[in-house]
């Protein structure tokens, strides 16, 4: 095949594979519409839409505040604990929202551990509760915000670090105080990066099932499942899912086009790192609290509760089943991480190598899998695998339905956005003049990719593998339906116990999810430490 054609066709080929299961779901829109639609319209659809809307708005606002303020605090100031906070602020990423939701109810229900402790300490009556009920939309906003803010923190921090000192100093000279520099200059400047991170947060919020189900909030996702499971109407459920998909799709493309119209290359050649101001006294305390509170709520608190639970059942969980599901989880996430990073690298390279508006528009669609509820994706995937088995592989005596191929493919579709966002932003930092000089020196195509881009993108590639891994470890609904016989992951074990309302037994696999999720996070934090500006 002609080399140019390969790079030009690659994004389209991947797009076909990625969107096939989604198109199967979307095809429901062209089917019949059952009488359940009038029931939905009349009684519940408004609730579904409005609570999803409130959830997304609330989470967006809180995540933006948490993510950017913490990032600004650790990049601009020096205070006690700053070196630890810099990496510890991403720890909540290892806690899936559903696990935080489980522990929140364990803590803050009327007779939860936190309320019991408070009553004991304050010597109060049984009827009084200090902490408010969390099983509502506000509780859900907090759960999502405190587990997902690291997405915004990560991008904000690296963007803040890359802002040149002289630019910020110029703003000071022009009459802005430190606070104004933050919200008038630094914040607008990192808008594209932050919106990218925020999109991930919104998509994850919209596609979540575990946490909202646990809190009994009627969102669009729970509505889809209720229609499917309760009304036995998978057709209408798929149609609802398609609407969710289309909404996110429109949102996503709109974000993409505003981003591309506002591109400005940052100028790294004369980069001089920012020197942080040292804080003392109440200012240092404030900075400390700004960073500590998100880590406490999003990480320390749930870990304490899980350990309390696990402690009650001793070590009986540590058996063969537990070990095998840990190994399954780890290897699946590693394989998916490498595939995603490889794909993201190839596709971003092909876009850069043979730029065209159409390819760009299409490849941005590749990330939409992130917004698809796992179970819906899985349903489309099963259908796809069956077609493939029947049409392509029937003569070969091979069945890929119910194999790891399907599961890994679903993971790849679901987490590609994470890999892509990291590699794409890495590419944005490589000046295109470098490509030109490389071409002039006779290096193009594969050799440019391997000898110029890969070394330059090392950090981005590693980040993308790790981000994908931390997400795959937590994935539940698609795993439940697509996994092969006798194949359990930690998320599956946790879910099985939690759905049987056996939180104590669920604690051990939940802790293991967090621990495995921590491995990529530790790598990430190591990179964060080394990406600190030199003085």
């Amino acid at each position: 095949m002609n080399r140019l054609t390969f790079w030009r066709l690659l994004p389209f080929a991947v797009l076909v594979v990625f969107t096939a299961p989604l198109l199967i779901v979307l095809s429901s829109l062209f089917g019949d519409y059952s009488e359940n639609w009038s029931h939905l319209f009349q009684f519940v659809l408004f609730d579904y839409v409005s609570s999803s809307f409130i959830l997304v708005i609330g989470v967006s606002i809180l995540v933006l505040i948490l993510g950017t303020v913490t990032a600004w605090t650790v990049t601009s100031y020096n205070f006690v604990g700053k070196n630890i906070f810099e990496w510890a602020l991403i720890l909540p990423l290892s806690i899936p929202p559903y696990i935080l939701a489980y522990t929140f109810t364990g803590l803050f229900d009327h007779y939860g551990d936190a309320n019991n402790l408070a009553r004991l300490l304050l010597n109060l009556q049984n009827s009084t509760a200090i902490f408010p009920n969390v099983r509502n939309i506000y509780g859900a906003i907090i759960v999502f915000s405190f587990t997902l803010y690291p997405y915004v923190y990560l991008v904000s921090r690296s963007a803040f670090i890359n802002q040149s000192r002289s630019m910020k100093e110029s703003a000071r000279m022009l009459g802005l105080n430190q606070f104004q520099v933050f919200y008038k200059l630094a914040l607008p400047l990192i808008r594209p990066a932050v919106i990218g991170g925020l999109m991930l947060v919104i998509m994850e919020t919209l596609s979540d099932f575990g946490a909202v189900d646990h809190f009994a909030i009627q969102t669009f996702t729970t509505g889809i499942f209720r229609t499917w499971y309760g009304l036995y109407d998978i057709q209408t459920a798929m149609q609802l899912a398609s609407l969710l998909l289309l909404t996110v799709g429109v949102f996503y493309i709109a974000e993409r086009s505003t981003r591309s119209s506002g591109i400005y290359t940052s100028n790294n050649s004369t980069f001089s790192p920012s020197k942080e101001d040292s804080l003392v006294g109440y200012k240092a305390l404030t900075a400390f609290l700004i960073c500590f509170i998100p880590i406490f709520i999003g990480f320390i608190l749930p870990i304490i509760e899980l350990i309390l639970w696990a402690y009650e059942v001793n070590l009986e969980f540590f058996n063969q089943k537990f070990i095998s599901s840990s190994i399954n989880t780890l290897s699946l996430s590693l394989v998916t991480g490498m595939i995603c990073a490889g794909l993201a690298l190839l596709i971003n390279f092909s876009i850069r190598y043979k730029p065209s508006a159409l390819v760009q528009r299409f490849s941005s669609l590749l990330s939409i899998g992130y917004a698809v509820p796992g179970l819906i994706l899985a349903v489309g995937m099963v259908q796809l695998l069956v077609y493939v088995d029947a049409l392509v592989l029937s003569g070969l005596d091979i069945v890929i339905t119910g194999s790891l191929i399907g599961l890994v493919l679903a993971y790849v579709i679901k987490t590609y956005a994470l890999a892509n966002s990291s590699i794409e932003s890495g590419y944005e930092r490589i000046s295109s003049s470098l490509d030109d000089s490389s071409k002039l020196l006779g290096s193009s195509g594969w050799s440019m990719l391997s000898s110029i881009h890969v070394p330059l993108l090392k950090t981005s590639i590693l980040t993308s593998v790790l981000l994908v891994m931390s997400d795959v470890v937590k994935e539940l609904p698609a795993t439940l339906i697509l996994r092969p016989f006798n194949f359990e992951t930690l998320a599956v074990s946790t879910y099985i116990y939690a759905s049987e309302e056996r939180m104590l037994q669920a604690a051990a696999p939940a802790i293991a999810i967090v621990l495995i999720g921590l491995i990529p996070i530790v790598f990430l934090s190591k990179m964060i430490r080394s990406s600190r500006p030199a003085h």
């Binding site: 007779y111 009994a216 036995y232 890929i400 049987e500």
Partner: protein, 339 residues
């Protein structure tokens, strides 16, 4: 890495057909079931392969796999799930004399597509400190709509299938109109917005947040066994369980059940597996571990729940009605404002 490669090679191309096995799709997730499967393999030499997941999701997988499906058995909780598979015509009839002899007709599919393996009752829990024994004696589901229970009842969300089956059974017995009036009044009597699981309803009653909870019978067994922790044991000791509608049609029951799939590659093994589950010894083992009630006569419930009564009058409504009427039940609950 080596381990990883092996793992990949083994499972890359799906299911490699082995000779002596039975493949089970199950939405029951009890650890004690694993031990049962091992026991079955030890006894018969037949390997048991498991895929577990939500009932509806597994059904979707079954449908998609079609004739290629490797599944032999579909094993699930809630009769509604069985009915959905039956409706898709994915089951074959169970022929085993042994099974048909021991399982009552209302606990089987209309053409013996599936059979109950164990049953549970949806019962009322109350706190004797707050509820007068006189008030609660002879109570029925219908009584819960009475104004005397205003702000005193807790129950979980209407998304839960146990509630959907309960309402479906009421539709079967009372008709849709009366059931909707009942549901609307019940929602008015709730002490709080439906939230949490069955166990949190029982705990709410134990702690005096509400007087009455509707929940499944086996949860009290798990709580009393102490395996769920000290707090739940204490809470369970504070509450009493009562079987509703003993003076008329009987208490609503639901089942765990299983059937052999039409495209089963190993139908003989599947049959053996069902017979195994319905043997006396296994039934006793199951109810002792899961705190359900046995299908076989003469198998006593576990000691934890035996104190609430070893037998009770059961609603004889055929459990397959739950499946048929489930969508009506969900729409009815939506209309009544049951969140």
């Amino acid at each position: 890495m080596k381990k990883l490669q092996l793992l990949l090679i083994f499972s890359l191309f799906g299911h490699v057909v082995m000779t002596n096995e039975v493949n089970v799709y199950t939405s029951r997730h009890y650890d004690s079931d694993d031990a049962l499967y091992e026991e079955f393999t030890k006894e018969t030499g037949i390997a048991v392969n498991i895929v577990s997941g939500k009932g509806s999701a597994l059904l979707q997988r079954l449908k998609a796999e079609g004739v290629n499906s490797p599944a032999d058995i579909f094993f699930t909780v809630d009769a509604g799930n069985l009915w959905k598979v039956q409706r898709e015509d994915l089951f074959q009839s169970i022929k085993s004399e042994q099974i048909l002899k021991v399982v009552p007709e209302n606990l089987r599919g209309p053409n013996n597509e599936w059979t109950a393996i164990a049953k549970r009752a949806r019962v009322i829990f109350y706190n004797p400190d707050n509820v007068n024994e006189k008030m609660i004696k002879g109570i029925s589901y219908e009584d819960l709509a009475n104004p005397e229970w205003k702000n005193k009842i807790v129950i979980r969300s209407s998304s839960n299938m146990y509630n959907q089956s309960l309402v479906a059974s009421l539709i079967a017995s009372l008709g849709e109109v009366d059931t909707e009036i009942w549901a609307t009044k019940l929602v008015n009597n709730l002490a709080r917005k439906p939230q949490g699981n069955d166990r949190s309803q029982i705990i709410a009653v134990a702690n005096g947040e509400a007087d009455i909870a509707i929940a499944n019978s086996y949860y009290i067994g798990i709580m009393l066994s102490g395996s769920a922790g000290e707090d739940q044991l204490t809470a369970a000791n504070k509450v009493r369980m009562i079987f509703p509608n003993q003076d008329n049609r009987g208490t609503h029951i639901n089942i765990s059940g299983a059937g052999i799939l039409k495209n089963s590659p190993n139908p003989k093994n599947a049959n053996l597996f069902l017979e195994f589950l319905l043997s006396k010894r296994v039934q006793k083992y199951m109810v002792d571990k899961s705190y359900e009630y046995a299908i076989l006569d003469g198998v006593l419930p576990s000691k934890e729940i035996a104190s609430f009564g070893i037998s009770f009058k059961e609603d004889q409504t055929s459990v397959q009605k739950y499946g048929e009427l489930n969508p009506d039940a969900v729409r009815l609950m939506d209309r009544s404002g049951w969140k």
